[in-house]
Subunit: 107 residues, 2 copies
DNA sequence: ATCATTGTTCGATAGTTATTGAACTATGGA
DNA sequence: TCCATAGTTCAATAACTATCGAACAATGAT
């Protein structure tokens, strides 16, 4: 993952609503959730949610698929994984003080 | 780390200049770097850098100490560690598909 | 005391992001 | 075909963010 993509992904997650949405989609698992279910769950207007989902999608953190009348959104686990890898390896230079899991693994 | 702090930290890192600055300070190690050395390295104006350092500091990702005429900035490894922990555990719900290091550890 | 160095703050400006409701598109059902 | 449902897009607005250079503080040297 390039730094520019990392910056986009970080920006996409750097918002209360969007980190909630992403977490919800992760918890929903591979089946994903229809946009309407997300907006019900988080109690927000369809158009605002649509805006935020577009941001997440543009950053590559979620994908969308039309199923019937619904747009089903899914978390893109791979993108999150690459983001965490970048933060750990490139940004933190592999420093174990930064990376809780590296510390855990070395115990 | 609270979600609101996580959002702040993500926002602080979600900028080309600031992720560079943070990486530079991580690589500089515990001694840190004077602001002037950072602006030399990244070739930017003092006032713009000062703005970005303030953002990082406000988000808790770096600390500053006056030493002589310099302000020495240091990466806050603990904050980064907490950020990665939040993303892995809370946001990703501990899903191994999200967390490269969890996968690595389980092999 | 005076001056140079090192950074920060301020005001102006430009650009970006978030929110709202109304209009619109696409799909499926009667 | 006509209607209801599910979402997206659009325009307007407000709020926030980034950049610049000039002015300002704080420190250290002469």
């Amino acid at each position: 993952m390039e730094q520019s993509e990392v910056v986009e992904a970080l920006g996409a997650l750097a918002h209360h609503t969007r980190i909630e949405v992403f977490g919800l989609l992760v918890r929903a698992g591979p089946e994903g959730l229809a946009a309407g279910l997300v907006s019900d769950e988080l109690d927000m207007s369809a158009s605002t949610l649509s805006f935020h989902l577009k941001e997440l999608k543009h950053a590559g953190l979620v994908s969308a698929e039309r199923i019937g009348r619904s747009q089903v959104y899914r978390a893109n686990y791979g993108a999150m994984s690459e983001l965490l890898t970048f933060l750990t390896d490139d940004c933190c230079n592999g420093a174990p003080e930064c990376a809780p899991l590296l510390r855990k693994a070395s115990r």
